[in-house]
Symmetry: C2
């Protein structure tokens, strides 16, 4: 299949595709949210994974960022550099997986780019929206706030289906003081939230997925649960795991001991 043939096929379910740009109305009285995430062979997935799963996860990862802001996804661009080993069956499977989660979350595929590379590289951009001034940032946590997660942790090894916490995130809007999604391990991501807020944190207990260890929950990537803070006494959904405290910005403690954020750094740990 050549570029134009793939584009023609995509247009059947995504009529916005095919011009130099997608043209869509700007949502009235809202703020826009933009996020983009790579899915790269050998980094984010293995070549022999099911293409439907690769496509699904590639989109779900970006949707999770929209969820973390309390937003609603609107439009998606999928850029894909095909590797020599991909064939038209693989491509069809990939887009089937992508479409599944896009439909489920009412997000419209609006465009993208097609090219080729030695390994498969996919980049998914999502534009969402949120009520003006109501996006939940990483920087609003204050000492005394309680620290929560949206569900049990333990990393992608123990989780088959990644569900972006969109409803959960929207329920936090106007309630949580800070929020982000856990993509690189609880420790590293909590460190980032604390740096952004200029605070420290104490973890008291961590809810685990069946079969997962505390170490995996702390340092494995790809949980995609939400990590958030709220003042004590405020009713929020989720599981309380600790508290925000004063201290060196970004410094963490787990049950009274200093905790060093390891997690996944995409530039330090090269596979």
């Amino acid at each position: 299949m050549n570029e134009d043939a793939i584009t023609r096929r995509l247009r059947r379910s995504a009529p916005l595709i095919g011009d130099d740009c997608a043209v869509v109305p700007a949502p009235r009285g809202r703020d826009l949210l933009f996020t983009t995430d790579f899915s790269i062979e050998g980094v984010h997935f293995k070549r022999d994974s099911a293409p439907q799963e690769i496509g699904y996860r590639a989109v779900a990862r970006s949707l999770s960022d929209i969820a973390a802001m309390g937003g609603t996804p609107l439009y998606c661009l999928i850029s894909i550099a095909l590797a020599p080993w991909t064939d038209s069956r693989w491509i069809a499977g990939f887009y089937r997986g992508a479409h599944r989660i896009l439909r489920k979350t009412n997000t419209e595929l609006a465009g993208g780019d097609l090219s080729h590379a030695r390994e498969l590289v996919c980049d998914v951009m999502i534009c969402g929206s949120v009520q003006k001034g109501r996006a939940i940032l990483r920087s609003g946590a204050r000492p005394g706030d309680c620290l929560y997660v949206s569900g049990p942790l333990g990393g992608w090894r123990h989780r088959r289906i990644l569900t972006p916490r969109l409803d959960f995130g929207r329920a936090l809007s106007g309630k949580a003081t800070a929020c982000m999604d856990i993509s690189d391990g609880l420790a590293l991501d909590l460190h980032r939230l604390c740096v952004a807020s200029g605070v420290a944190a104490e973890i008291e207990s961590i809810p685990l997925i069946d079969g997962a260890t505390i170490q995996q929950a702390l340092h494995d990537g790809e949980d995609y649960e939400l990590l958030f803070t709220a003042p004590p006494g405020r009713r929020v959904p989720g599981i309380r795991i600790g508290a925000i405290i004063e201290g060196k910005p970004g410094s963490l403690r787990y049950r009274g001991k200093k905790l060093t954020p390891l997690g996944y750094d995409h530039l330090q740990r090269r596979t």
Copy 2:
């Protein structure tokens, strides 16, 4: 440098970077434009090119798509998968080039993603806007329309600096019936415009860059001039190169002879 260190450095000139999503106000009474373009080592650039030039061109290619719709760029996301051969000097050079064209076109760097791959892969998303209902599509060309380009052609081999035709594109809004940018050669891109509009075209003459041949103008990529149509008698800027005619959608003629679109197909010609 690790991921967080690069992000910290980028935030100095791009304060929107650093949260799960960039949060920006939706422009009032406008349509949004979305486009994204890969720049891949060995496909779009050579490893030994100056990093400033790679960064500049990677952004300019997406800006050119905004120009083709008659739009104004607003926000940019840069995703970059670094190759093992890139070092912090290369990264600094790349972003210097990107920032140069972003500043020149008043476009704000709002986010992106950082990862690694075996070869360097960059994906640049731009969100722009245009007056409601005034985006110039590829599909509006009608038999009898005149066919124009915004400047002389001949491919990237003869052009050192790529300048997205943003002012030119905006001047066409409300005047041109169809427009696109020439990224894969005049013949292939005109073929695409004609397919989208359900028309055929006759090319009469082609303005050339110094040293370029007609074959290069017809079939080489990366001119990034605008290709557009307007009814006869309507005053538009640009150089007339032919006319839109009735015929099999997408079929082309050059000085009376059938012309086959070769151009650059990103999936057919693998380097």
